[in-house]
């Protein structure tokens, strides 16, 4: 209920801002909606939207899988941790823009460069989060698995991953919002389609309504993914907890 009121308030603020600042700078909600409808009907919005979502999914998947694997190894092995820790810090500090531009220069203006650049931006954060989880692993359970000679697959699925679940969930949450932000920048700089590319055009035309027409649906989709995908999965995997945190 309070959430709804909060959204309504935001809507009212937007409407009044549009009155004060003029429709060119802040177009009113209805105009944004008509622009959105026009873009949907022409097919441009669904196509660009789909392409961007695919890029988000691909780079997110790459960053999560590699980041989790690296984080696990670094959390369990001191030598590997010392070896890669400086790299991790460099990657963490390096601005997203630098990584993106370098990727485009070195690899070329390709899809692989775009997805790789986004993944590389997300990777160190995933690794650092999972590493914390790997350090906190319960050694007693590890020994139990060893004594009972559980297979690697069993250990991974039933001993390791369940312990890492809170860390994976945290990395997912932080990751989704970060990845989609960076994907737009990548598209703006070196792709000829996608939401980021369209926003670039809107910027050149100074068309705020078009810009918002592309940005807002994406916010909605990300919100839906968090509410209908991430949260239910998290509830399912933590069903064994007697008192959910």
């Amino acid at each position: 209920m309070l959430r709804l009121a909060s959204l309504l308030l935001l809507f009212l603020l937007w409407q009044s801002a549009s009155i004060f600042a003029g429709p060119r700078v802040v177009p009113e909600p209805l105009i944004v909606l008509t622009t959105m409808w026009r873009e949907i009907q022409s097919g441009a919005l669904p196509i660009n939207f789909g392409i961007t979502l695919l890029r988000v999914a691909a780079s997110f998947a790459v960053a999560m899988v590699l980041g989790t694997a690296l984080g696990l190894v670094m959390g369990r092995n001191k030598t590997v941790d010392r070896l890669f820790d400086p790299w991790l810090i460099v990657l963490l500090i390096l601005p997203a823009l630098v990584i993106i531009v370098l990727a485009y220069i070195w690899v070329g203006l390709t899809e692989a460069a775009a997805i790789g650049a986004v993944a590389l931006n997300k990777l160190p954060i995933t690794t650092a989060t999972i590493r914390e989880g790997a350090r906190a692993l319960d050694n007693n359970l590890q020994e139990m698995a060893q004594v009972f000679r559980m297979s690697f697959k069993t250990r991974l699925r039933h001993v390791l991953i369940p312990q890492l679940t809170p860390y994976i969930a945290a990395a997912t949450r932080a990751g989704l919002s970060l990845v989609w932000k960076i994907v737009l920048v990548v598209e703006l700089l070196g792709r000829s389609n996608g939401v980021g590319f369209e926003i670039g055009i809107a910027f050149q035309l100074f068309d705020v309504a078009l810009l918002l027409a592309y940005a807002l649906p994406f916010v909605g989709v990300m919100l839906a993914i968090e509410t209908f995908l991430v949260q239910p999965i998290e509830r399912h995997v933590s069903r064994w907890r007697p008192h959910p945190a």
Partner: protein
């Protein structure tokens, strides 16, 4: 059932096991500790606390390989361990916990084990919903489910109330006997050792070695209270002599 013969015995010979303290000193935990377990035998290991009993079990289970000496067991023998704490996966049900350790177990055999340990009504529970006594039973069931040739138990009845400990001890003794499992149980409870074991090995204080051995010839059902008391007196006398 394991075949009888020289091949089925387990030889433990630890020449030296040391560890480094935080201050950098080297402490010797075990020295010249040697004994042999015969197939199907139940052996109890008792000794003062901190004498390295858990260290010895960890070496036998292959969890600690940093020691001088040898553990010789016949090839293809399965060892199961019951840890001091139940060590169950909290995110898996009781049945899944047993199954994951023993994926090849026969369902009928599993049912027999869980039934005889009184777990039939708790198979779908998560470990967080179990009392300590029940969780211990699950860890027994898990160890038995892999059909071990050798079973090592690290003070499995500690911090249970007395009547529960006695009941659990009976159940365990029955299962181990019926399945002819070579068993080594670490305990500090002399009565428990007398009741369960065919043989009691007594360890000295650190560095631990075997200082005495008592054979218990009478089957445990036939033992009178007076006999238990006599053996108990003998054991306590030996123990106090070693610590004095």
């Amino acid at each position: 059932m394991s075949p009888v013969g020289a091949l089925t015995q387990l030889d433990v010979s630890v020449l030296r096991k040391t560890y480094q303290t935080a201050a950098g000193e080297t402490r010797t935990v075990l020295r010249d500790l040697a004994f042999t377990l015969q197939a199907g035998e139940v052996c109890a290991l008792i000794g003062p606390s901190g004498s390295g009993k858990t260290t010895l079990l960890r070496i036998m289970a292959g969890l600690d390989t940093d020691f001088e000496g040898t553990i010789t067991q016949p090839p293809h023998q399965k060892l199961a361990m019951v840890f001091q704490e139940p060590r169950l996966l909290p995110w898996r049900t009781v049945l899944q916990n047993i199954r994951l350790a023993a994926p090849q177990a026969d369902p009928a055999d599993l049912k027999q084990i869980t039934d005889s340990l009184g777990l039939a009504d708790h198979l779908t529970f998560f470990p967080g919903e179990l009392s300590l006594g029940l969780a211990r039973r699950v860890s027994f069931a898990r160890a038995l489910a892999i059909k071990p040739d050798i079973l090592v138990l690290d003070e499995p009845f500690v911090s249970l109330d007395n009547s529960l400990a006695v009941r659990l001890r009976d159940e365990l003794a029955t299962l181990v006997e019926a399945r002819h499992i070579t068993t080594l149980i670490v305990t500090h409870d002399v009565e428990e050792a007398i009741y369960l074991a065919d043989r009691i090995l007594m360890l000295s204080t650190k560095p631990a070695r075997v200082i005495a051995e008592i054979k218990i010839d009478k089957p445990r059902h036939a033992m009178t209270e007076a006999q238990v008391a006599r053996i108990k007196g003998e054991v306590i006398q030996l123990l106090t002599k070693s610590t004095a």
